[in-house]
């Protein structure tokens, strides 16, 4: 398997048939793990980091998941390829941008990604489409169990899994869901909803994770506390106290808009399709903003000629590194906006 197979398809986590797919795009569980007997990455020199990398690689090949794992050393891929992996949510910006002995191991469907030598020795990530936090957690446990059969984790009875940053110690687990909340934005209720989430000590981020602002009505919601609760409690709290109520509010807002302000709503939806079907230059921010309305339009049954799979693919491929890879040239910002407009136009026409 090589990287060129990646660009044109989407990971299984972007498949449009997941549970609660009208509002929940994807679910993600991440475990931070460190090896006993090694310094954490920040305090280790390059030789030690390389030792960890080789050790982990050897152990990964000894697990059952190995048969389907694809191991990518960061030193052997270009900066553009690393950016593609970041845009696909398979590695963090930190792993992509900091040099040195680092790697990621992936399954071909992109549901599992194990980063080696990021902030912690291991960052195990499992993603799934729609609302599937519990299932995703069960799947990641099986990977964790296989790994712990091979290596000894840094663990204490008091603090649980020991991590480089004290905010992760305990379960070492971060769970998040990606929500699409366009109607709450239109009714002006989104601020209230997000404030309630923050009061629950949840983090709210944009589509591209840490450090990204919400664009195009996509919000990533995740827990911030990893100690003092079981993994099941953390998942249950996020699901029952935040995700389920938000899904309910968004559905209600969509109904309210469809009944009371149908013309204004349809205007936004069809205008978005009009622009993307004809524009000659589109920035990535504008693309997200407009694709958000098209996604809403599809779920409200406003058009039959655009498929959700097309929209989901565009979320990935309209990003800078994907465009540069697809068009095979070093595009400047203006060139990218042109390429993006052309590409989206073609895709939308092709879907008809």
């Amino acid at each position: 398997m090589d990287l060129s197979g990646l660009y044109q398809r989407v990971g299984a986590w972007l498949d449009e048939t997941g549970p609660v797919n009208d509002i929940v795009i994807s679910s993600r569980v991440r475990l931070a793990r460190n090896l006993a007997g090694f310094f954490f990455c920040g305090q280790a020199d390059e030789a030690q980091q390389r030792q960890v990398l080789e050790f982990v690689r050897e152990k990964l090949t000894a697990t059952d998941v190995q048969g389907s794992l694809w191991y990518v050393p960061m030193e052997q891929v270009t900066a553009l390829q690393r950016q593609v992996l970041t845009e696909r949510h398979l590695i963090s910006r930190e792993l992509a941008e900091t040099g040195g002995p680092r790697a990621v191991a992936l399954t071909p469907d992109e549901s599992l990604a194990v980063m080696v030598n990021e902030e912690d020795h291991l960052r195990i990530q499992m993603m799934a489409n729609g609302l599937q936090l519990r299932e995703t957690y069960e799947r990641i446990c099986r990977v964790d169990e296989q790994l712990e059969g091979q290596v000894e984790y840094a663990f204490s009875a008091e603090y649980g899994y020991l991590t480089a940053c004290p905010t992760n110690t305990g379960t070492g687990m971060r769970v998040s869901v990606m929500l699409h909340l366009p109607a709450l934005k239109m009714t002006g209720e989104i601020e209230k909803v997000l404030r309630a989430a923050k009061d629950l000590r949840l983090a709210v981020r944009g589509l591209y994770g840490e450090g990204s602002e919400p664009v195009g009505d996509f919000y990533q919601l995740s827990n911030q506390t990893a100690l003092g609760k079981t993994e099941e409690q953390i998942i249950d709290d996020l699901t029952r106290h935040a995700v389920e109520p938000m899904v309910e509010y968004e559905r209600r807002a969509r109904k309210k808009l469809s009944e009371g302000k149908a013309t204004a709503l349809d205007d936004k939806i069809f205008r978005a399709k009009g622009i993307l079907s004809h524009a000659r230059m589109v920035s990535s921010e504008e693309a997200l903003y407009l694709l958000s309305y098209i996604r809403l339009g599809i779920h409200l049954g406003r058009f039959r000629d655009v498929r959700m799979s097309t929209v989901n693919r565009l979320f990935l491929t309209a990003q800078p590194a994907h465009l540069q890879t697809l068009f095979g040239e070093d595009l400047d910002a203006g060139g990218r906006d042109r390429a993006r407009a052309d590409y989206i136009r073609r895709e939308l026409a092709g879907a008809a």
Binding site: F39, F40, F155, Y159, T167, A226
Partner: protein, 159 residues
């Protein structure tokens, strides 16, 4: 709803009753802050780290604290925000405990998963006992005495 002081959307709504007289205010976040109405926002870890103790008092008290294994000092950790090795949790135990409580909503003990090779060890048993004790408290609160009895038996087997 619009902010009463500017034209942004009002997101802070305050109702005050003074001597039986009710006043309502609707403000945006910026104006509310100007008016001295505090909005609690979770502070990022770097802020928590720096505000935890005044630097001077800390330099005196913890200036010499250093992990023997990885060589990281407490002050270096405070600056960078990342620990150097698993042993730091022991070496910095005293100051770290307070910090953990702050960043982890008051929690100081792990209740989650235990690696299989630890589960039969003393460490694993401790975590299981804690979790059982928490479940027991919940069972008693819910007046589910059958479950409580079962949990108590499980605890007896462990200790």
């Amino acid at each position: 709803m619009q902010c009463q002081m500017c034209d942004k959307a009002a997101t802070v709504h305050l109702t005050e009753i003074v001597n039986g007289k009710k006043t309502e205010r609707h403000l945006c976040e910026a104006c509310a802050q100007k008016e001295g109405i505090a909005i609690k926002a979770p502070a990022p870890i770097s802020e928590l780290l720096t505000s935890l103790m005044s630097a001077q008092a800390e330099a005196q008290e913890l200036g010499g604290l250093r992990c023997e294994q990885c060589g990281l000092s407490w002050l270096e950790f405070r600056k960078g925000g990342l620990l150097g090795c698993p042993n730091d949790y022991t070496a910095f135990e005293k100051p770290l405990r307070g910090l953990l409580e702050r960043v982890q909503e008051g929690a100081t003990r792990h209740l989650g998963r235990v690696p299989r090779r630890c589960s039969e060890s003393a460490a694993g048993k401790q975590v299981r006992l804690l979790r059982l004790r928490q479940d027991l408290r919940q069972a008693v609160e819910a007046e589910d005495y059958e479950r409580a009895a079962r949990l108590r038996d499980e605890m007896r087997l462990l200790s």
